[in-house]
Point group: C2
Chain length 262, copies 2
């Protein structure tokens, strides 16, 4: 997580709204979005990492978050399908491998299913999306549509929440191992893997948007894309919290924890 | 090239229009499209392979065909972006590698540029698309849109012209080596590589559509997709022929062969 709370580096003066932001100011504006609204600040995450959820609630989180995991390689393929830049395609395709697996490497979706297996969820039920909250699916598909439809540089920028991911993953690994008897090191393989993948990808995407956002309007659109993506992550926790924590109103058809297992 | 001219295997009776075609009849209907309208039957290809074109006309062909090569990985990424079937994504992604390259492997687009280099075309000019016929670009982008928008099984079916590709590639390698002093073995690497890639991909796609086209209407849509794709290939040769052979009307801005080089 980045410590900055202002879009300008400390000591510098604000850049007039009509002018291109220098690279460091642009990067600071992107990082400021994470400081303001990345989902590590959501009450659901504090409950999750602090051991305050019961097993049924952790199951609901993992089941719903699967929808997001499964959308990621599709949004990355959508991005690749839109660009004539072969070097960008060659770089970006490693993200699909990271999630779908490649050759003998299992990939992040498979690692996520190891987590849901470990939580006692039936794999076919998870991958069918049947128990997911309808709102979860609307939210994650809106991310796929965003990447498919927005200008390419803006689509790239929407991946930049990865700048903020390693700290939440470290926190999650430590907190969940410490606080839940039903979580062990094995099932958290997904997050351990992302500790190395996310920074590599984030640095590439950050360099890309700094190079390709050539007007102030494009820079602002990139900052907005990071905000949009933070909202995608935040909204997923809102709907989980509403359904499974408070007030605990589970919509028709959505996963209902087995009360005997909680 | 397939020898069949009827959509039913010889000796069998036609399947009523309301019934699902058995797998062999369905496959025969797909192959019959190639027999009728694959672009190996186009007069431009006969001229190309028979050594009847001058160097400027071969340059125009290679320059325009680059647009198609460059569209292929984008249409494949579009297909991947649309499916929840991780196994299909994991299989299909090798097509993107084949064209864009992966790691140290150069890929088909790079091999195509070796061909255009060998023909004396400036690489930046080729990759800029500036000299391509506008119609070429409309035609190839309509293929990308088709794959993005049609039902998934139909999108897969549109790749099945690869069933007919190896024979045209063999014919092209032999004919071009024999007939043109400016073509050597090295610059035809693209086609030699496709001799092994295309049959592997075509068999997977054929098995896929035979499994997933579950109604007669879906089967017919798959056959139509192969027809559409044949038309994509054929139309590219029509516009080349019109501009560079007969009547030889090159549109404004399009590549004009250096008459000294022809």
């Amino acid at each position: 997580m980045n410590e900055m709370t202002s879009p300008t580096p400390s000591g510098s003066t604000p850049v007039p709204a009509s002018q291109l932001m220098p690279p460091d100011v642009f990067e600071a504006a992107i990082r400021a979005v994470g400081a303001e609204r990345y989902h590590d600040k959501h009450v659901f995450h504090k409950l999750l990492h602090g051991g305050k959820l019961n097993k049924g609630q952790v199951q609901a989180w993992a089941l719903n978050r699967y929808c997001y995991q499964e959308a990621v390689p599709r949004k990355d393929a959508a991005l690749i399908s839109r660009t004539h830049d072969r070097e960008l395609r060659r770089e970006w395709i490693s993200r699909i491998h990271d999630h779908d697996g490649f050759g003998d490497a299992p990939g992040g979706i498979e690692r996520w299913l190891v987590l849901t297996d470990g939580l006692g969820l039936d794999r076919d039920h998870v991958t069918s999306f049947r128990g997911a909250l309808p709102a979860t699916r609307h939210i994650v598909e809106s991310y796929v549509h965003f990447v498919r439809e927005q200008p390419l540089t803006v689509a790239v920028a929407s991946s930049l929440t990865e700048l903020f991911a390693p700290s939440i993953h470290r926190e999650r690994i430590a907190g969940m191992l410490e606080n839940y008897s039903f979580i062990d090191d094995h099932v958290l393989a997904y997050f351990k893997r992302r500790l190395s993948q996310a920074p590599r990808d984030a640095q590439f995407a950050l360099d890309y948007v700094k190079t390709h956002a050539q007007t102030r309007a494009e820079q602002e659109a990139c900052v907005s894309a990071v905000r949009f993506k933070c909202d995608v992550l935040w909204a997923q926790l809102d709907v989980l919290h509403h359904a499974y924590v408070s007030p605990g109103l589970i919509p028709p058809g959505a996963f209902r924890p087995d009360t005997a297992a909680t």
